[in-house]
């Protein structure tokens, strides 16, 4: 009987904490901005920036010392590609360089004297492409345009010379590239899934830390006590809050994970139920991680200072722009400890490459492991750092009422 009552008490604590956390979350505009508005607006804003996916018509200037029919036709073909746009001819390299420096164009195509004569003699004719390297994508586009035109001309010339050898386009063995997963090869479709996962994690961290900042401010004004504190044990507090966050996040996460990809037609090859099951430990991780990091936040607004920059670091650690296999051991291990790394890669494999839950079991188990680890950290932080701090605050306030606020003012540079 007694045992049953204790379990009831423990369970009751969780429910009370959870209910209170709902109340606090929905009565704090700042927290709602993080939990809901951020999750709804940010992916759309981000997707819009990357929606054009590639650069078209990169401007390029021509220096033609050959002045032949072949070179003129070659230039016209380059201009006709979707990647490049020939803005005109320059008299010499000097003039062309100046145009690049003034950002009138980003590349120079140069035909040396004797280019067409070489080709006619059956020797190799050389075209030179100079590109500005301030953006990799412009270089790539110009190179693609040049290579495509070159290959067309090559097979034409080859066909004339060696009709026996040229099957289709002159190849004996043909080759084809088959893009898998992200079949459109779009940069947005590649990067956005990871950003979506990051949005879920970071918005939750921000919201949790802001709630904690609010609680500490209430303690400052109330002699070290938070009037909204339910007084539950450490474990029940952490679990109760987690239940609340998970419920609040149900709709935002369905929107972020499934609706945003529909809106911008990103690959959707995963089973939604399996993806939700996969991400359940991830959401637990985010909640426990937030409750661990809250120790660094002393007022609502320092949340921004402490957490915003981590988004940039975490997105890199996930390996979406710089692959994880190319990272050194140190950053690889740090990445292993961040929930978004496993969640983002698993979500990409499921959503883009159509993996089932079983295929990403390694990621899944890592997420459960991290959830356990972060729960322990959150427990220790609350039990051994935060609660003794509250006790000290109460003690100082009892000794000298108002000292907490005065100390806060002093720390901000006032005497």
């Amino acid at each position: 009987m007694g045992k049953k009552l204790r379990i009831g008490g423990w369970f009751g604590d969780i429910l009370r904490v959870s209910r209170k956390e709902f109340y606090l979350s929905f009565h704090d505009v700042g927290v709602i901005v993080f939990f809901v508005v951020l999750a709804f607006a940010y992916p759309v804003l981000y997707a819009l920036i990357y929606n054009p996916e590639v650069a078209r018509d990169v401007k390029v200037v021509v220096v033609d010392d050959d002045r032949s029919e072949l070179s003129r036709n070659f230039v016209r073909s380059v201009d006709a590609t979707s990647e490049a746009n020939v803005i005109g001819y320059a008299a010499n390299m000097e003039e062309a360089r100046k145009a690049v420096n003034e950002k009138e164009c980003y590349g120079i195509i140069y035909f040396p004297d004797g280019f067409s004569a070489e080709v006619e003699r059956g020797q190799q004719g050389d075209v030179v492409l100079y590109t500005d390297m301030s953006l990799l994508m412009r270089y790539k586009q110009l190179l693609t345009a040049m290579t495509n035109v070159q290959q067309t001309y090559c097979s034409h010339i080859m066909l004339e010379k060696l009709p026996a050898m040229a099957g289709s386009g002159g190849a004996i063995i043909e080759s084809r590239e088959v893009p898998i997963g992200n079949t459109g090869r779009g940069i947005a479709s590649a990067v956005l899934p990871a950003v979506l996962i990051l949005v879920l994690q970071q918005s939750m961290l921000l919201g949790i830390c802001m709630l904690r900042g609010g609680s500490r401010e209430r303690r400052l004004r109330n002699g070290g006590r938070d009037p909204h504190d339910v007084g539950a044990a450490v474990g029940s507090t952490i679990l109760g809050k987690t239940i609340t966050y998970l419920i609040i996040y149900l709709i935002p996460s369905i929107y972020v994970l499934f609706i945003v990809p529909i809106m911008f037609s990103y690959p959707q090859n995963g089973n939604p139920i399996e993806i939700l099951v996969f991400l359940f430990p991830f959401m637990l991780c985010a909640s426990f991680m937030g409750q661990s990091l809250q120790v660094f936040v002393n007022e609502r607004e320092s949340t921004f200072l402490v957490l915003v920059f981590t988004s940039v670091i975490f997105i890199f650690l996930s390996g979406i722009s710089w692959p994880r296999y190319a990272m050194g051991g140190l950053w690889h291990s740090v990445g292993n400890a961040i929930p978004s790394t496993w969640a983002a890669n698993g979500y990409i494999l499921m959503m883009t490459d159509g993996a089932t839950l079983v295929k990403v079991q390694h990621h899944y188990f890592m997420l459960w492991g991290l959830a356990a680890a972060y729960f322990i950290i959150a427990y220790c932080v609350e039990r051994f750092i935060c609660r003794p701090r509250y006790k000290r605050m109460e003690y100082y306030d009892a000794k000298d009422p108002g000292s907490l606020l005065r100390e806060e003012a002093r720390r901000n540079g006032l005497d």
Partner: protein, 388 residues
């Protein structure tokens, strides 16, 4: 009298810097660690050795020769050979490999019989940078395969080496990537992300410094101590931070250009000056944003949003002209964009500073911006209302 006011407010700025640990951590530790993170992460500058698989259903001398070539490629690292297409496909789904090369059955027979067999390579474009690396590697192998067979055929016809290459490729394109012939990825990523990361910190710290006065209602005293001049109150409270940020910024530049050897093809003074302007521009930009919405949380939210979005908005990967015009226009009001353009013109390309004149002017322009909104911030400071 004025010197008295300046002394008062500078002291106020300094004291808060010393008494709160968060300033030291955010102004010194985080920017330097962040720079170290990016520099160290992308040290190698290329994403070579993408883990890939191989499916060889032909298993002849020709296919084994291709596999050997593949194994020797820089771009890819063949970590596993699979018995079937399905096995390889599943390894991709498990995330073990990022793509695979598929050699069909009877490749050799079909090739020699003139049936034009097809070599396929499957590339997982969910990971963008390694995908283009794989494309390059796989494509080279297929070209080699053709070249090998063609050379054999032509040699039997009695052609010389030069004739062969001229026949196979009558027109050759030579590429000269100006100032970065190695296509080093680190040159872009670090030149754009590190300053933008630093800008994020400057924006947030500045917003925090102003906002905290608003929050605790101490701003009235702050303005009064400066003799009622908002401009004086701001400049002298933020001056110590400017000094710290400039020194940190210079340290970051030293790490970039000296320790990690990023190209510095201009006089160091140009970039050092650019850093001073960059710090000032960002502080002024934060002023402007918080003056627009004179409230701690709104101001900081706005600063965070602008700072984070500028990583994508400032066109470090997708060129500005490719973005939607209404979004692209936003990037003109972000200091990081101009610093990036300066560093490309000066540090990377080493062209005359004349060509970067507008970018320097723009950074200077940011420092003028907040003065037009000073009255708004002053009004709020004299009657602070804290909105949680």
């Amino acid at each position: 009298m004025i010197s008295e006011y300046v002394k008062e407010t500078v002291k106020r700025g300094l004291v808060s810097l010393v008494r709160r640990r968060i300033y030291f951590i955010m102004m010194v530790v985080v920017p330097l660690l962040g720079a170290f993170f990016f520099l160290e992460l992308i040290k190698s500058g290329s994403v070579e050795q993408a883990p890939v698989g191989l499916v060889d259903l032909d298993n002849t001398a020709l296919s084994r020769n291709l596999s050997r070539h593949l194994a020797a490629m820089q771009q890819v690292d063949v970590i596993q050979q699979y018995a079937s297409f399905d096995e390889a496909r599943q390894a991709v789904q498990r995330g073990e490999i990022l793509g695979f090369f598929f050699i069909p059955a009877n490749l050799s027979d079909n090739a020699l019989g003139g049936h034009h067999p097809t070599l396929s390579y499957y590339v997982n474009y969910a990971y963008y940078a390694p995908a283009s690396m794989q494309y390059k590697g796989f494509k080279t192998i297929t070209v080699l395969a053709n070249g090998g067979i063609a050379t054999n055929v032509m040699q039997t016809l009695g052609a010389t080496g030069e004739q062969i290459s001229a026949t196979l490729q009558p027109i050759a394109v030579h590429t000269h990537p100006i100032a970065n012939p190695w296509l080093n990825y680190s040159y872009y990523l670090n030149a754009s992300f590190i300053p933008t990361f630093f800008a994020l910190i400057i924006l947030l710290v500045t917003a925090f410094t102003i906002g905290i006065e608003l929050k605790y209602g101490t701003c009235k005293q702050w303005v009064e101590r400066a003799g009622g001049s908002m401009g004086l109150a701001l400049t002298s409270k933020l001056a110590p931070q400017t000094a710290i940020f400039v020194v940190v910024g210079w340290t970051i530049q030293w790490m970039m250009y000296r320790v990690y050897g990023l190209p510095l093809n201009c006089s160091p003074w140009v970039m050092l000056t650019a850093m001073v302007l960059f710090v000032l521009a960002n502080q002024a930009f934060a002023h402007t944003l918080i003056s627009l919405v004179p409230n701690f949380r709104y101001g900081t939210t706005l600063c965070s949003l602008v700072a984070v979005i500028s990583f994508s908005l400032c066109a470090f990967s997708l060129p500005l002209e490719a973005e939607y015009p209404w979004l692209a226009s936003l990037s003109y009001i972000i200091p990081s964009r101009y610093y990036f353009l300066i560093s490309m013109d000066q540090a990377l390309n080493g062209i005359h500073p004349y060509y970067s004149r507008w970018y320097f002017a723009a950074l200077l322009g940011f420092t003028v911006l907040p003065w037009s909104l000073m009255w708004k911030l002053k009004k709020e400071c004299l009657n602070p209302v804290y909105v949680p």
